[in-house]
Symmetry: C2
Subunit: 337 residues, 2 copies
DNA sequence: CTGAAAGCGCTTACAG
DNA sequence: CTGAAAGCGCTTACAG
């Protein structure tokens, strides 16, 4: 058995107009607030629709205005990444401001080089604009959206010209974190995690370099390990870092950090006594770790809020800043004491 | 600056009809496959729209058929839960089958007792049906959707009458896990985690009880700790379990399990030598734990697939099973050796 | 097999 | 201040 109860048949603008003895035009104006209308008439209409719980059909409204009142959001599909709370939280942020502006969020997944889902959504006229939740140095999604001329922006930075972007200031964040660690007396700070083709990784590496330069510390590529996706590679990376005599390991995300911590535990290396550790994102995954882990904090929810608000501005034809950089916090905990 | 490039103006059915010297009716029929149409004409139309990359406007189609080709999905909003990979994976499952049937997924968040977002989406006519990703013993969302008569189903079981539901067989799963542990010689198996008002927790508790009964083991409520959401409460729960002399701790989800493992580590209790541990969900959070953790595995992606397929059946007016139960696997690892 | 026409529920010049 | 009418891009009886 499927569902049995019938949809109550929904009121339309015509019903309302008839009931009130006015024209559909008038009802429409009362609701939208556009166009001249007598305040008394307006009152009557609003009261009536209130009472009878009339809700305009957004589809029809959209058709008349050639809009959908939906925004699309492209979430990474690869498993390692989907687990990161960052995306969920950012998504919540997008969603909550979308709803507050009476838009809805349409979800799409996509791998680095697969535009099919995104293209389908755009070509089916299902969205007024798109938010890309992640950027690559070479990014087919960006290229596609540019070619379509549909409003969009990226969460995360990109080198593409003319693309609106909203991001945390990862470069400064990483620079500050590393500077602090250097000040605290660490000499050789190893880096592990991140994927080279992600712009965010580039920004962080730059921040690392900046901090080293400022402190007059030479850069040693043998203690920087990116593209260590699989667990085995992380373990290997840690081994190399140990061989190369680092006194601190900075992890580019919390998932990597968990593995690093496991590995150190396996090797019976105690944190922070024998090795300092810090991570990006102050996520719940690491929340209760012993020792607590020094990390950078980015407000993913606010990032989502800002991204969504900016996209809606673009959709409505307003000018927006090409690049919005949001802040960060360095949270010092036991793991670097 | 916002975006500059204009939308290329899109082809409409009228353009196609004109270009081919046929009526809109004919074009529509060629595309939908409904109604009689000469196979040659059909060819011509399909070829043309192929070549000129014409895509029908789903909005207009929807308006004419009073459909949206969207389904809504209600995700839990509370932070602790959003982190669980289960929901993401299930969401991916829903999304991928939705897309394969040319539907899109509209995202909504909601807390246990807050229907506003869901109601907004439904009343705005934005979806043809809804999937609830979690169920409560007393569930306002279910009550709301029933009252609206809109097609919906729940992922997870519910006691409400006449509600279509898709779920893994948590009761059997838990029964089997516990039975196996008892067979392996454990005497006092503690339970920790889960929220009492979730139906899934009830099912698992029932499975636990079943297994104990079958084995003739008495039930001791002092070693069952539900509603331990905050970290502190988990620690306390573990302490109580220790006091009460359990030889095995079964965690109702992996997030709780992480905290339990941390606590045991803090207390220098070694797993599995001094304490056995098992968990629900074989998620990546615990993937690399040492020792590896015995757990139940549910195929969340398939669950999403099935849920979505079932909802679409309902939407299209077909009969469906009221309750679909999917399987599980017990994965034995080091933590219970 | 094909088409003219009405309709889905809105918006918006245009006229009054 | 208000309304009749055309239009958004489709679908679908109905007629031929």
């Amino acid at each position: 058995m499927g569902h049995t109860k019938e949809h109550e048949k929904k009121l339309t603008i015509t019903d309302v107009a008839k009931a009130l003895g006015v024209s559909k035009t008038t009802v429409s104006r009362a609701i939208s607030g556009k166009g001249r209308i007598g305040s008394e008439t307006k009152e009557r209409v609003l009261e009536y629709i209130q009472e009878h719980n009339y809700k305009p059909n957004v589809l029809a409204k959209g058709l008349a205005q050639l809009k959908t009142f939906n925004i699309g959001i492209l979430l990474p599909e690869d498993y390692t990444v989907v687990d990161l709370p960052f995306f969920q939280t950012c998504l919540i942020g997008v969603q909550e401001t979308a709803v507050s502006m009476d838009y809805d969020v349409l979800l799409t997944m996509g791998k680095e080089n697969d535009c099919t889902q995104l293209a389908r959504m755009v070509e089916n006229h299902k969205v007024d604009g798109v938010i890309l939740m992640r950027t690559f140095t070479k990014d087919p999604h960006i290229e596609y959206l540019k070619s379509q001329g549909i409003p969009f922006l990226t969460v995360g930075s990109t080198y593409y010209q003319g693309v609106v972007q909203v991001d945390n200031d990862h470069q400064s964040a990483c620079r500050e974190l590393i500077s602090i660690l250097l000040l605290k007396g660490m000499k050789r700070i190893g880096l592990i995690g991140g994927i080279e083709s992600h712009v965010v990784t580039q920004s962080r590496l730059q921040g690392y370099v900046d901090a080293c330069k400022m402190a007059g510390v030479p850069i040693d590529k043998s203690i920087i390990h990116v593209n260590v996706e699989k667990d085995m590679m992380i373990e290997l990376g840690v081994e190399k870092l140990l061989e190369n005599g680092v006194d601190c390991i900075v992890c580019l995300d919390d998932a990597v950090c968990i593995h690093v911590l496991n590995k150190l535990r396996k090797e019976s290396i105690s944190v922070p006594k024998e090795m300092k550790v810090a991570s990006f994102y102050d996520s719940s995954i690491l929340e209760n770790n012993l020792p607590s882990i020094t990390s950078l904090y980015f407000d993913a929810r606010e990032l989502g809020n800002v991204a969504c608000k900016t996209l809606l501005e673009i959709i409505e034809g307003n000018q927006v800043k090409m690049r919005t950089l949001l802040g960060y916090e360095v949270i010092l905990k036991e793991s670097t004491k």
